[in-house]
Symmetry: C2
Amino acid sequence: MSQVSIMNEEIDIVIGAIQSDLTSFLEDWRPFISQFHLIIVQDPDLKEEVKIPEGFNVDFYKKSDIVLTVGSSSVSSLFSGYSCRYFGYLMSRKKYVISIDDDCTPAKDTNGNLVDVVAQHITNLKTPATPFFFNTLYDPFCKGTDFVRGYPFSLRSGVPCVLSCGLWLNLADYDAPTQALKPEQTNNRYVDAVLTIPAKTLMPVSGINIAFNRELVGPALLPAFKLAKEGKFRWETMEDIWTGMCVKVISDHLGFGVKSGLPYVWRKERGNPVDSLKKEWQGVKLMEEVVPFFQSLIFSKEAVTAEDCVKEMATAVKERLGQMDPVFARAAEAMLEWLKVWNAVRSQQVS
Amino acid sequence: MSQVSIMNEEIDIVIGAIQSDLTSFLEDWRPFISQFHLIIVQDPDLKEEVKIPEGFNVDFYKKSDIVLTVGSSSVSSLFSGYSCRYFGYLMSRKKYVISIDDDCTPAKDTNGNLVDVVAQHITNLKTPATPFFFNTLYDPFCKGTDFVRGYPFSLRSGVPCVLSCGLWLNLADYDAPTQALKPEQTNNRYVDAVLTIPAKTLMPVSGINIAFNRELVGPALLPAFKLAKEGKFRWETMEDIWTGMCVKVISDHLGFGVKSGLPYVWRKERGNPVDSLKKEWQGVKLMEEVVPFFQSLIFSKEAVTAEDCVKEMATAVKERLGQMDPVFARAAEAMLEWLKVWNAVRSQQVS
């Protein structure tokens, strides 16, 4: 790995509490996250009190805190279920945000060592991305690798990396139909690589294990897309897939890069995919509309920040997808609502 | 890995003999290639007789054979040095061609088992490629993996894969400046993955370890680009980088896919990169012109075969790059010359 300095004061770790007892979760992660500032946000639909063990530096937010900050109307439209984490993104004042689902534990690498997700995510974000030409030996800024013969020198300095998408061992992030069809299929393949997703290429970003540069793309990491029957299992959600496409097209427009690969986390099983099948199909169907929309989205030259881009995107979603399904009209509204609360919180933070 | 049937009669293994004694090379590979038909082409500049051990099913071609087939004028313009392998591509009648540089031996995977390059390349080629949306768990057609949640179902059937670019352990394929600056830097990272290079993304294809579907893109695997001071070391050549970009843009136009990753080979050291530095810089400089050219190349709707595309590309190279450097004018001529010999050999094979 490149020599990257990790400064504790630059990093927030945001955890959305979908379950109430975070004791074993936080104990598992303690060696890697106890020196950082944590923001834990309780799913506003969760009634029980959240248990957090001693010895962490935590800002904890529950429903009443969210209401106080953004008003009661925005609570369920923006921050329920897995989307509660976005409230943590909103409250962060740090340059980098790392977020891990609360059903994950540290994974082991091929040598049997526990993976330091923070170090790997921050390395991914602090070293450049190379979206304009694919390097066949993967991220040239990883230790022990470089640009392959034929890689244009003018492209070797790269661009800022704004999103690092980590992966998962054990329970793979399949949709409910795939998981139901292949219940035995877990992900056991540790792929020891990071790569830049090329410009103009879209991919399904899973919110399970991600990190981003909040200063450059914070407003684009937004809660917007909520299936009519969204549940409390990952395979019942599409919010992160939508958000990932937002960030990717905005990064492409602004000249930033997105990486995928290391670090891995270990995902534990939760829920029954067969029960979720009915709900999931809506998401599967909607993706057929969503992907061509994002693939063909063009921002104006005036859109020079992530916020500008989100604004234009909300308009385009409303115009081009709004009539198709109510979920899209709601997504467009949520994006504008998010920008409003984003700016309100920013102005409070400055004052 | 997906269950893929490997039929011996569909496969040619093409070796360009840059060195005269292939004994140890072929013995190393015997367990994996002895059941297939081999085409070995002697570099026409190589004066010594090529040694080939017993027990292989080989068609061997030397300079006089090349002259007989394509005439003496095409020998050095098309088939000298590393480009001698293209004569093997020309003579093949099989669906799939696999080609490995003669300084490579079988690599070991992370379990210490020797890698079967043939099985992996053919699996890559016989399973679909997915160039229109990136799958974060890599090639979904590999054993034990699948499409990640959010991957559009309409894109899951994929497109034919026409080129499989394998990688190298030990001596990495760096350019001479990088190799000279970091003489100790070898590639030790075994990345257990295959991925589809997204549509419209270019990458440096190394000719060291590749396989392709000759029926679909044979005419695009062509010898064209020869540096003024091209030598007998990989880092003194750009022929494969150029050819790789030809195949990629043609595949994008025709709706085919290209994969990169497994299988690995082990590359032994050969030559001194410091000695090569002077020669290499021409290639490094020229890439700055070559990449934007390929990135902006658009084929007409009438171009429906690889051959049609090569024809249009030769015209574009001549018009847009021809005045810039003699190497481009020669490349354009070589491409047309290649099509001529390609068709001449095809018509002989039919009769």
